[in-house]
Symmetry: C2
Amino acid sequence: MFEFTVTAKNSRTRSGIFSTMHGDLVTPVFAPVGTQATVKTLTPEHLKDINASLVLSNTYHLYLRPGDELVRDMGGLHKFMQWHKPMLTDSGGFQVFSLSDTRKIDDDGVTFKSHIDGSMHRFTPEKSIAIQENLGADIIMAFDECSDPNDSAYSEIAMYRTHRWAERCLRAKTRRDQALFGIVQGGVNPTLREESAKFIAALDTPGIAIGGLSVGETKEEMHATLDVVMLLLPEDKPRYLMGVGTPEDIINGVARGIDIFDCVLPTRLARHHSAFAPEGRLNMMNATFARDEHPIDETCDCYTCRTFTRAYIRHLIIAKELLAGTLLSIHNLRALIRLMEGIRAYIADGSYESRVPELLSKWSNNAKRGMGNRE
Amino acid sequence: MFEFTVTAKNSRTRSGIFSTMHGDLVTPVFAPVGTQATVKTLTPEHLKDINASLVLSNTYHLYLRPGDELVRDMGGLHKFMQWHKPMLTDSGGFQVFSLSDTRKIDDDGVTFKSHIDGSMHRFTPEKSIAIQENLGADIIMAFDECSDPNDSAYSEIAMYRTHRWAERCLRAKTRRDQALFGIVQGGVNPTLREESAKFIAALDTPGIAIGGLSVGETKEEMHATLDVVMLLLPEDKPRYLMGVGTPEDIINGVARGIDIFDCVLPTRLARHHSAFAPEGRLNMMNATFARDEHPIDETCDCYTCRTFTRAYIRHLIIAKELLAGTLLSIHNLRALIRLMEGIRAYIADGSYESRVPELLSKWSNNAKRGMGNRE
């Protein structure tokens, strides 16, 4: 169970297979985010069509609504949302720290106010595991504390707490069909990150997550931190870079040996009418596209690009038709999943390292806004 | 072109085939409404999956946004929205009268204010036909004036205007691949309706629409009006009851010889979290369904009912996830299309007339609200 087999390696970059109860994950992999047990505006059929293989859902949100015990009683998250491939849940920690106005952290756990109705709740490592066991994802996360990367003193406190909580999560865990990943913290301090990587690696969890990145640090700090951490992680465990990220972050992460990524970016951009395209990120609401008979991306194989013109998508946006969000989500997610498919092919033929500059140049275009984007 | 072949007949009820450039329509048929060149929240794939055969779109809305000339330049409505089966457009008259605050009717046409930006526009019979030719639906409508059914004096003026406008529409029409239907008006006055039915029938259009019903009159008035009109319409032309209606209206309409129906009810109910179900119309937001592991309707073959529980749909609604609207639209539309499939089977085996009480009793349940409905 939870074997990770590296199938190809170019320098630090690797491709592999991680086995779960709901099938094999071929890495590097990008996970669409289904916060509330649904990848916003898409059916599971849409997700299959874009070749999604791993879906992430959020412990904090599902605990509050509809409740993890309800999900358990309905047969677990896979059955509830009808996604029968691998799933991952986070620990709830990140949302407690980012969404709740009022929260009180102590060494035992966190007391927080619901962002929905203001009711008070408490998460501990044991509670996070109990919730994640009720939800039943294939990959679950240790309860961690994500610190401000620029506050070194707080990062140290949060890191030690994260380590103690990881040990408690391991002890609390009862299900054997879920892979619990420990989480490396330590802000952007290389000494802390080194200590954290060694500590979490020693716990011998079936995979290791890197938390506390893409939360306000610079790109250089993120890369330097990954360079420190990755050297210390075992080769035979998948590495998950939590909440990351943009296409450029993914390309750079893969180059440093990351295997799993997740990000809300593709679906969030879709809700804001933005589309990944060869000429850069496009604001599809722009008048430029009113009579554009081309698909968003001529080279894309997604349902949206195979079927509809930019003119039609722009019309749907202007007319406030919800189908616009569905069509853009399909395209944006497929664009990132195609990127991962391309990356895996390059790793398989040994060319990934040499392709990085070309990939970065192609996608850096999408960090900036393309023609027609006036968000 | 536009042949209508009656394939089965039970008393006044009939089943038939109407041939269009985009395929044959098997009647009686229910058309989902795609107001702005999209059936709200659904892809064309969803529409194919529920076995939709005719889609209606609105001339008034498409004229204002994105503009009929744009739709024409993009290859017409079928290509623009990627629906390659039969389509129908209304004349724009009904929306001009119902959506515009400010409108001035004269014998030549109507001047009105856009409900979107307040700009002034003018529709005449010739303009309505020009717009509908740009849109390119298979079935198009003569420009008509829909009167308050309870105002007999106004109904008479509106009826005569509708007749003169129908003649002008016929003269204005240039495309031969579109079937222009004349529209019978006359409120709920049997003398006016008789005169209108005779007049419109004499125009020898390839089909005839009945307008001005389901706009505030009683059910008895609707049925009495249909009884007068239907006797006077030719047997070899399809009859379209515009904007109707509820399942009960459809069952009663078929019993009186109606062939084509359209209504926003299924998708509008979906947006208000209501679902057609055997026990009556359900408000899926109700707490009753929080742990209900059954589909909306055990007997339904739609994607939603084959895949998801009531508990999951309720969760999506409570969590304000847009997928709820998509899943409920699929189910509600499929429920009406299944009703039509059943009706056609009963007509084919000669049992329709005898099944009407049973069908009405089954569906009257859905006029009322079922358990759990607190809209």
